[in-house]
Subunit: 430 residues, 2 copies
Amino acid sequence: MTKSSKGQNIELDLDRVAANGLLSRRHLLSAALGGAGLAMARPVIGQEPGINLEIPAWSKTPGPGTSPYGNRSAHAQLERQSGFGNPLYPGGGASRSPLQHLQGTITPNSLHFERHHAGIPAIDPAGHKLVIHGLVHQPLVFDYEDLLKYQMVSKIYFLECSGNSGALLYGGNPDGTAQSLHGLVSCAEWTGIPLSALLEEAGLLPEARWIAAVGADAASMGRSIPLDKAMDDSLLALFQNGEPVRPEQGYPMRLFNPGWEGNTSVKWLTQIKVTRNPLQFRDETSKYTDTLPDRTSLQFTFPMDVKSLITSPSGQMRVTQGDIYRVTGIAWSGAGSIRRVEVSADGGQTWGDALIESQQLDKALVRFSIPWKWNGAPAVLQSRATDSAGNVQPTRDAVIAAKGTINRYHNPCIQSWGVNTAGEVTNVYV
Amino acid sequence: MTKSSKGQNIELDLDRVAANGLLSRRHLLSAALGGAGLAMARPVIGQEPGINLEIPAWSKTPGPGTSPYGNRSAHAQLERQSGFGNPLYPGGGASRSPLQHLQGTITPNSLHFERHHAGIPAIDPAGHKLVIHGLVHQPLVFDYEDLLKYQMVSKIYFLECSGNSGALLYGGNPDGTAQSLHGLVSCAEWTGIPLSALLEEAGLLPEARWIAAVGADAASMGRSIPLDKAMDDSLLALFQNGEPVRPEQGYPMRLFNPGWEGNTSVKWLTQIKVTRNPLQFRDETSKYTDTLPDRTSLQFTFPMDVKSLITSPSGQMRVTQGDIYRVTGIAWSGAGSIRRVEVSADGGQTWGDALIESQQLDKALVRFSIPWKWNGAPAVLQSRATDSAGNVQPTRDAVIAAKGTINRYHNPCIQSWGVNTAGEVTNVYV
């Protein structure tokens, strides 16, 4: 039994919004609204002026001064987690964002997930060219400095690898974390030139229907993109959260296709060929196709689905009986903005509406939260997002029923975090 | 005379929106819209497949693999610029964001401006306390881990030092850059707990009117804040662009007062005393008051004014006769969102509307641009912002007429960048 700061009995006042401990958000917002606060603060011993707090060492001596480039606190050294390096592909691999430790919606550039097929080319922008050719009136070549003179657009967008969350399809990974299971999604403000402006400058021929985008990395990563997308909201991105695009994100320039699978946003972009048909690059035949149970494959499955994820509490965390937690996470959709996020603490039997704590931008992460009091019994925490197009995040069973378990791409399924009687949180399949 | 990619004569097609070379934005957007593009790309020599580009070295060999914490390109090493260190205040000083090299609206955390009065305390969050006391029902003390359990809000806000642009009031600094003159403004997504929630948990007494906020740095930086603001949109900020607040921004926690002068957003926040009257801290008497010509001083001048700044072309840059430039910059207001930015190339005689390239959020930076063709004659580039409350950015003369030249705080005046016949861009007073 917990007492609020005013001595009121919290148990009596808790508004339940769904079974197994999900509470009304006013319990995280304010003690005053309902008279029943979290009471996580401790009353000060003795009234002022007798507040008896030791002066810490860092308040007694001046600290170091300014610096040209700031660093993180020694107590907050978040890191990406690397995975699936393959000796056959030197430099290739991925690293995942520490989702369980991030808040808000923006991913710092140093922690943005990365994925590349032949390592990160060390490009000198003075020697980098972007060529637009193929079905155009006039092939063009652009220098980096040329491109900085074009009108740009700045938008906050999520980026997600189509292989993100793939492990959930075949099960296993009970020790998985939000980062190791789902860390191939991040979000940044991307600034660049509408690709339509550059294509129109070259002049599209009437038979143009696709573009083929090729990177300057040693993998010559290539993808075919329908011209409709390229002329809609695709960017030639030059800046990421205000500064030049990072090397592992394509410095000095990358294609950025908002809401689409990450690999189509070709990094280190050096060539755009306008074509009548897709070019069937190695990377869109051997990879990035969704193989169905009958061994046929879906190709060009570009948009990312509506999806959400509880980032805390999540895998390898621990909760304490009787405590109230801020259940929080992220949601996103390639089809628009997020309209609603629901949370369940009983494996999807009952749901409560979470609060959206952030802006709700098109094709960008949102942050949600809902208070939850753990009563000590086994629980299964889930979140379920709905987007502005009315799409509802599916269960794992529904994803498997639709596309089987051979496929490793495009898995937006609801994540289940199990809580056992010891308070341990793990990835479970329910 | 420039030719477009289709060989059309650009001179004939240019839409002028204001005198001295300001053009319609379609000249930066697309060649196709008006038939007159920038033509900054070069036609490829010979038609495909004969595109004759050398394969660069970085495309021939795999590069390095993933990393736990990403770094910038060796070709994009932006830095803050330090200024006004004072031997009497060890560790104190400021560093300024490289505004002329940033794009979009978000400032990367490592490049966010900093200002502190006794250096940066190296705080271990496990030993940091936040006390709320004074005119409350129950004084409370919060640990860092306690605070992470509260419902949070994520918002993108600018932060500006009230001393930013102060040098323009007394003139001089012809060699100044956007960074050295105006670099004490930055913008980030701040995530934290509404301060109202914590104050309500302590329970405000009826006579409460102000709060006094004190930092844990060796300067014991303190500011008095009207309770109305604290209960409105003030945050206890714990995260900055997704990751824990940086040490020079107040790790592990800072006050954040959206739209108000930066020093009120007390860093390393350790104490909030609820009071009837302002406490008259050293930092709100010896500093941060605006001294008028008659030597009286305005105190508690909290909100930052509507303001804008051309970041490129800007001081110490150079332009070439006949070239078309993307004139770009940032605008912001403590009173709301930015509604309009105008640009002049003739020192304020005629104005053209700039395009807003970014979102227009409340109390956040926006990015604007307008194309400009320099004809080789002397020019003066200026920008002028209007906010959602109808406030219009004033001229320098108007600011001086209102508050004189002794004052060094709250200068939102229009910046004039002069262009001489050699194409050199400098800070000028017109």
